[in-house]
């Protein structure tokens, strides 16, 4: 390990928040690459610039992604991080671990890499940060042997992700953990072998709190919901009231559709079920008293992504309600996403996320061609212009013009 000083980075070992510098130093005890990373980073802090290059394609046999090549810009100065690639390992649903599994991850990474990780990458993967090209295949072989698989990179289905779901949340309207696991296994080819115009993400959130940021961050957003009325436990309501919780102010007044009425005299809370948009606010405020309905499923939205290229998009509703049942193997959902991807694959331009393709070609065309029924839930409001591209085959072409020509 190098003995060079890192006075700027050392400043970041002070303070209460856990220090990534301390972590790099811990790794540097065993890894020369981690030690050299510290030097490169100190230099970035001095110069206020990065020192990494994207570079040649790296990967493992049989896969088209899962590894991100990374190279330092002065390999002669920093030979140990001349190659410093990232491996993405597909995390278990809900980021649940037993310590045996975690120790296996650590042991294998100590054997092959820098000893530095991200727990986790923003998309969800376990990120192994920094290894040489020659180690990539052995790393994969070892992890594979231990029961792990690679995550996605490139123009593929990226590693899917889900919220904690029924594992530890009373809000979950479908089994996000199983959906994520089952559906990821269904689309192994799409995940490991990039073949699309660009990347595509799926995130599974058990309710409209959307703890995975699915609507904001994924091309296909699966948000748990229910179709009947939310359920209210009046005894529990009275307990909240007895504890001076301001039900009127903090719950009813903040309800976006004013569908909740609190009767101060009877201390009862009632809901106009048909007006409820299942936004979760009241349940968040009074989890002991209010529950989701019984007829549960999910709303499917499409098109979310961050800023590059054509601005950030939010996903928008395509299927207001779909059953998400383990029993039928999520068939309806799988069938839907296959149609969606097929359409995008045929119509999308390179580096165009599906939300951008739909925006370019029209939501109507997308819905027609993927055979998704049109419903008013898909829009906040209808079009303001009259520029309907009429399906000419639907019109009455039997007439003739005054000059006798066929219209």
């Amino acid at each position: 390990m190098t003995e060079k000083k890192t006075p700027l980075l050392d400043e970041l070992e002070k303070g209460k928040w856990p220090s990534f510098v301390t972590e790099i130093k811990r790794a540097a005890v065993k890894s020369e690459a981690a030690g050299e990373l510290l030097q490169v980073l100190e230099r970035s802090y001095e110069e206020r610039r990065g020192h990494w290059k994207h570079g040649g394609i790296v990967g493992v046999r049989g896969y088209g992604g899962g590894v991100i090549g990374r190279y330092v810009d002065e390999p002669e100065t920093y030979p140990n991080v001349a190659e410093f690639h990232t491996i993405r390992i597909n995390q278990p649903s809900g980021f649940f671990y037993n310590t045996k599994t975690l120790r296996t991850i650590c042991d294998l990474w100590e054997k092959h890499g820098s000893g530095l990780t991200n727990m986790h990458g923003s998309t969800g993967d376990i990120v192994l940060l920094g290894c040489k090209t020659e180690h990539i295949q052995p790393i994969f072989d070892d992890y594979s042997e231990a029961g792990f698989d690679l995550g996605g990179s490139g123009s593929c289905l990226r590693t899917t992700n889900c919220c904690v779901g029924p594992g530890r949340c009373e809000y979950a309207c479908y089994d996000t953990l199983e959906a994520c696991y089952n559906i990821t296994n269904e689309f192994m080819d799409e995940l490991h072998r990039p073949m699309w115009p660009y990347k595509s993400k799926i995130k599974f959130s058990g309710c409209a709190n959307d703890c995975t940021g699915s609507i904001a961050r994924s091309d296909i957003s699966v948000i748990g919901t229910w179709r009947d009325s939310l359920r209210i436990d009046q005894d529990a309501v009275k307990e909240y009231a007895a504890k001076k919780f301001d039900i009127q102010g903090r719950v009813c007044d903040k309800c976006p559709t004013s569908c909740l009425k609190f009767n101060n005299e009877t201390q009862e809370l009632t809901v106009i079920a048909e007006d409820c948009t299942r936004c979760m606010h009241c349940i968040n405020m009074m989890p002991k008293a209010i529950q989701a309905g019984k007829e549960k499923g999910a709303t499917i939205l499409i098109g979310g992504k961050s800023t590059i290229v054509q601005s950030a998009f939010m996903s928008s509703v395509v299927v207001p309600f779909m059953k998400m049942e383990v029993e039928d193997d999520f068939e309806e959902f799988k069938d839907l996403v296959r149609r969606i991807w097929e359409w995008w694959d045929e119509n999308g331009k390179t580096r165009e996320r599906i939300g951008e393709t739909i925006f370019r070609l029209g939501m109507g065309k997308f819905l027609r061609e993927t055979e998704i029924p049109t419903v008013p839930q898909q829009v906040f409001r209808p079009r303001a212009n009259p520029y309907v591209f009429w399906q000419q085959d639907d019109l009455d072409k039997s007439g003739t013009a005054l000059d006798g020509s066929k219209l």
Binding site: T277, F321, G362, Q378, N385, F389, L407
Partner: protein, 352 residues
């Protein structure tokens, strides 16, 4: 020799004495009855405006009749409103009821104030426009005959402003009306190559298309229309009579609702399409009058007091409007033009 650039007549010459005397010092107004506004000034003076419908398209003899009435009851002063109503400016309270009696006797329509339908701003239609997809005056007449009870009363939840445009260009103020009636073509222009070769300037014609659907066809000394790109606006017919766009079997009317121009309570808003097509069925357009009446009655039955049509729908949600109205929702109602994205529902919160 005519004077150039002398500008409009000076409005000051058009103002009755009561207005000159109380100019800028009006204090408040009230609506003593349907069709009458009473404005009171700081001096205590009161001006009564009696509002009367016109069909907008009027003969000079109509105007002369109106002048006679204005001379008799208003010392020769009156005004028009932006919605094509006449307002008789009565400064003598004693003359208000006699004027109304005379107007009524002559069959003129007093109303259009407060929580009422005012008058339908409209375009020329088959009377005088070159690209109409429907008539204007006739549809307005049919609709207002049907809804007359809401013109001469003030029993609506709030005011209701309507507009009619006879083609997709949406002239007038249909794009921000409570109810907009819009003539729509639905088929591409038919090219008369003979006529084009005779006298059309092809580059100008090509440039006239908003979506770039027209391109030159040099071999044929004419043009080609890419029908997938055409959205039937008829601009090309303006440039060349060889591009006929009318189509009796397929022209008709779309209904857009929920817009407004005022900033009160919320920002001005666009009307939204709820019915993509109704047939042209002159002289009375029964499909159109029925559709509008249905929407109106649904609003009357459900809105809170003071809630304009669009405010009501925004409160309950457009998805709820469609379920309440029973109007079919189709992909034709989903925007696919330039600013479509902001209409997509980027939220899991909606009503079933």
């Amino acid at each position: 020799m005519a004077k150039l650039d002398q500008g409009p007549p000076n409005y000051k010459e058009m103002l009755p004495p009561i207005i000159k005397e109380n100019y800028g010092t009006w204090r408040y107004h009230e609506i003593p009855r349907s069709g009458v506004l009473k404005h009171v000034s700081e001096s205590g003076a009161a001006l009564y405006s009696v509002r009367v419908a016109t069909p907008r398209l009027v003969s000079i003899d109509f105007i002369r009749d109106v002048c006679t009435l204005a001379d008799d009851y208003c010392d020769g002063f009156l005004r028009w409103t932006t919605r094509n109503n006449i307002e008789f400016l009565v400064s003598d309270e004693a003359k208000v009821n006699p004027l109304i009696d005379t107007l009524t006797a002559k069959g003129l329509c007093v109303g259009g104030t407060g929580a009422a339908i005012s008058n339908i701003i409209h375009t020329q239609g088959w009377v005088h426009c070159h690209t109409p997809a429907t008539d204007a005056s006739g549809v307005v007449k049919a609709v207002m005959d049907d809804l007359y009870e809401y013109f001469d009363s003030m029993k609506l939840p709030a005011k209701l402003k309507m507009g009619l445009a006879c083609c997709l260009n949406m002239c007038g103020s249909t794009h921000c009306s409570d109810i907009g009636i819009v003539g729509v073509h639905r088929t591409p222009p038919r090219i008369d190559h003979e006529k084009i070769r005779k006298g059309t300037e092809i580059p100008t014609l090509v440039a006239s298309c908003p979506t770039g659907a027209i391109r030159p066809d040099p071999k044929n000394k004419s043009v080609i229309v890419n029908e997938d790109k055409c959205m039937y606006c008829g601009n090309c017919y303006t440039m060349s009579p060889a591009m006929e766009i009318y189509d009796p079997k397929n022209d008709g009317i779309a209904i857009l609702i929920g817009g407004k121009v005022s900033n009160a309570r919320s920002a001005p808003s666009f009307s939204r399409m709820v019915i993509p097509f109704l047939p042209n069925n002159p002289p009375r357009w029964p499909e159109v009058t029925d559709a509008i009446r249905d929407i109106l009655e649904l609003w009357i039955a459900n809105a809170q007091r003071g809630e304009r049509l669009g405010e009501w729908i925004e409160r309950i949600g457009w998805e709820r409007f469609f379920s309440l109205s029973g109007l079919p929702f189709s992909d034709m109602l989903i925007d696919d033009y330039i600013f479509a994205r902001e209409t997509f529902r980027t939220s899991a919160g909606f009503k079933f």
